[in-house]
């Protein structure tokens, strides 16, 4: 077992105010955000964290099938990773990062909560036109926030044209490439014993 800090590609930040968190506080030292605050803010039952959550029934059956196929294919290479592709219309007042923090912690996964460690929650807010990524503690050290941002920015043309399925499919593809590369890097480094 490795220390997450030792593996980490970048720092962690408060999902509410973006303050860099050096250690593991129970609440953000700047804005006071925490899980308790999130639960109070989002006073409804979270949906089950299946691979595709289409709250507004926007995707067609074919589009969902295609997405599931991509996820299954990637799942063979990265069996630990769980994608949760969530298409939901939200009001602008809801901070997508806070929402993602709440949803990934509060929602139940069909495979059990253990699977959340390497979970990737990709939120697509179709109403306020926003994207966000929230990951579990296990996957967190592997990818920097800036890399997630880069992937999201590259998908904007799809979402701008409301091609949500294509956008999500490309998210899966680009994320898959990055994670495979990262996994191979870690495999080599661990083989060399650099991270002990």
């Amino acid at each position: 077992m490795y220390l997450a800090k030792a593996l980490a590609k970048g720092p962690t930040a408060c999902p509410s105010c973006g303050f860099i968190l050096d250690d593991e506080p129970t609440a953000c030292p700047r804005c006071g955000f925490s899980g308790e605050v999130a639960v109070r803010k989002f006073r409804f039952d979270p949906p089950e964290l299946t691979a595709i959550i289409d709250a507004g029934q926007t995707l067609s059956a074919d589009e969902k099938a295609r997405l599931e196929k991509s996820l299954k294919r990637l799942g063979k290479r990265l069996p630990q990773v769980r994608f949760i592709l969530c298409l939901v219309p939200l009001v602008p007042e809801i901070d997508l990062r806070e929402f993602g923090f709440w949803l990934l912690n509060a929602g139940a996964m069909p495979e059990g909560d253990e699977a959340k460690s390497f979970g990737i929650l990709f939120l697509v807010d179709s109403k306020s036109k926003r994207l966000s990524v929230t990951v579990g503690y296990g996957l967190e050290p592997m990818v920097r926030d800036s890399e997630w941002e880069e992937i999201c920015r590259s998908l904007r043309p799809h979402f701008l044209r409301e091609r949500y399925a294509e956008g999500m499919e490309e998210f899966v593809e680009e994320t898959g490439k990055l994670l495979i590369e990262r996994a191979l890097e870690y495999k080599r480094e661990i083989a060399k014993g650099d991270r002990r």
Binding site: C14, G136, Y137, L184, Y186, I190
Partner: protein, 245 residues
């Protein structure tokens, strides 16, 4: 082998009339073998002088052999053998005749003469023709010597030039072969090296493919639990995709 055969033949049948036998192993001092003294002293002197001159000026070895009678092995055979054994250079001729009244003939040999054999044989034919035209037997022999000496002497420089050219060409060929060998060696080294690099590349690719072919796992880590989030600490990623106003 021929010398042995000749010797045996001579032993078996003897030499008729008790005449001297040509010693093909050792040349006569002045280049003239005339045991029966067919040649007058004056002619002998002139011919000897010509022989010496050709030797000194052109390194062309000329011999004169006057057989008392036809040797058992044949005058031409014996003359050739004598020339081959007596000569120290690659360019020689033996003018010979059988008996005092015989017609002079010529045998030639040596590696240089071989380069121009057709021309040399033409010289000899011409010399014989010229000798025929002359009256006395001594004059005929003298004429033959002069014609052969002049003609073959003239050809010698051409033969030497050809030999030099042949030597140059042989050297060029040797150098070309050496260059080709060197080039082949260089190609071998270069392509072997490239082949090794390619092989190394393939091995690396194969290893990469093998390590990347199957399912991949991330290392497990002690989570940095924070903000009371049991499974995730949230992220700072939010990107807008709306139209910019």
């Amino acid at each position: 082998m021929r010398a042995v055969l000749l010797f045996l033949l001579l032993l078996a049948f003897g030499s008729p009339g008790g005449a001297q036998t040509l010693d093909t192993s050792s040349p006569p001092d002045d280049g003239i073998w005339d045991p029966e003294r067919f040649l007058d002293e004056d002619y002998r002197h002139d011919i000897a002088a010509r022989i010496d001159n050709e030797k000194v000026t052109k390194d062309f070895e000329l011999f004169v052999v006057l057989f008392p009678h036809e040797p058992m092995a044949g005058s031409e055979v014996v003359a050739r053998e004598a020339g081959a054994n007596w000569a120290t250079s690659g360019y020689w001729a033996v003018i010979y005749q059988v008996g005092a009244e015989g017609m002079p003939e010529c045998a030639i040999g040596g590696e240089l003469i071989e380069l121009l054999r057709p021309d040399a044989e033409l010289v000899i034919r011409n010399a014989k023709t010229m000798a025929w035209l002359v009256g006395t037997r001594q004059e005929r022999l003298d004429e033959m010597v002069n014609e052969v000496a002049t003609g073959l002497g003239f050809l010698k420089s051409r033969a030497e030039l050809l030999a030099i050219q042949a030597g140059v060409e042989a050297r060029k060929e040797r150098e070309a072969r050496k260059e080709a060998r060197t080039r082949a060696l260089v190609y071998l080294i270069v392509f072997s090296f490239l082949g090794l690099l390619a092989l190394l590349g393939l091995i690396i690719l194969f290893k990469r493919w093998r390590e990347g072919a199957g399912p991949l796992e991330f290392p497990r880590s002690v989570p940095r639990k924070r903000l009371l989030g049991p499974h995730s600490g949230g992220g700072n990623v939010q990107v807008s995709f709306g139209e910019e106003r």
